[in-house]
Amino acid sequence: MAFLVWLEQTALATWVGESLYGYPFLLSMHVTGLALIVGISSVINLSLLGVLPVTARDVQGSLLRLAWAGFAINALSGIALFTSQATYFVTSAAFLSKLLCIICGIMTVAIIQSRCRSNRSIGRVLPAFGLLCWLAAIAAGRLIAYL
């Protein structure tokens, strides 16, 4: 807890919480990253489920790099947003649920990537689970403001 209190007093947290542009700028980054990581992995997952026509070769290449870029944007913007209200966020059930969903979603992307690379079969459970993780992450993320 002492660490979180310290975090809230850093220059970054002050910029996020009190400057005119900090918070809206980070929210903009966060929704851009969300569109990339959730959007691209949904395209990949739906393809693996046979709904869309993208192939395993496409999944390994540029699409996955784009998805990871989205995740990087969101990890960074998310950490910055977290610093502004760190002590509150760790007590929010919605926030903790969101974090869990993101960890599961990202692990799904990583497992699909490694299976694609080694030409192992992926099946339908992983992509279906991945879709569910991102849906739940979005829902939990929105509910942070309400619960």
Binding site: G39, I40, V43, P53, V54, T55, I138, R142
Partner: protein, 164 residues
């Protein structure tokens, strides 16, 4: 009374307005659906646009165009939930500069998409696989990327822009 004021008056107290603001769960549920819709729309459109712009050439063109129904589904979800947002709080949205620019960009993106469907998509099968797309296709791809990301950012910034 201006046109905007009379539209706001007509919406407020109506059936849809009462439903949207009537219970606590409607607004957050619409927000969740709006985020799901934007993910589907942007996820699919980014892949199509990057291929059209020639920035990703490894993807097969005909496969890429088959992603478009997913973008259409995302757009449909977001038009529906978006109209419900507007009906839920017409006085706020109608005068919000961020919202007004967002709607302008949606129209621009729509005209650009119409151009794509009429002029570009019918030609896609004649292109050489792996080669750079024609200039018009690259312009349409870049315009689409710019307008949709503009829509995304302005949407997120509505609470912060031009609310007076």
């Amino acid at each position: 009374m201006t046109v905007i004021e009379s539209v706001v008056n007509w919406i407020e107290g109506g059936v849809i307005n009462s439903w949207v603001v009537g219970s606590a769960w409607v607004w957050p549920t619409l927000e969740i659906l709006h985020f799901v819709g934007l993910s589907l729309l942007l996820g699919a459109i980014v892949v199509v646009d990057l291929r059209m712009a020639g920035l990703i050439r490894s993807l097969e063109l005909t496969a890429v165009t088959r992603l478009l129904p997913l973008a259409g589904l995302g757009f449909l979800i977001n038009v529906t939930t978006g109209v419900l947002f507007f009906f839920g709080d017409p006085a706020r949205y109608s005068v919000n500069v961020g919202f007004q620019i967002k709607m302008l960009l949606v129209v621009l993106a729509g005209v650009n998409a119409l151009w794509f469907f009429m002029k570009i998509e019918p030609q896609v099968q004649h292109w050489t696989p792996g080669s750079a797309p024609p200039l018009t296709a690259r312009l349409v791809g870049v315009t689409s990327l710019a307008t949709w990301f503009g829509v995304l950012l302005l949407g997120r910034l509505i609470p912060y822009i031009g609310t007076g």
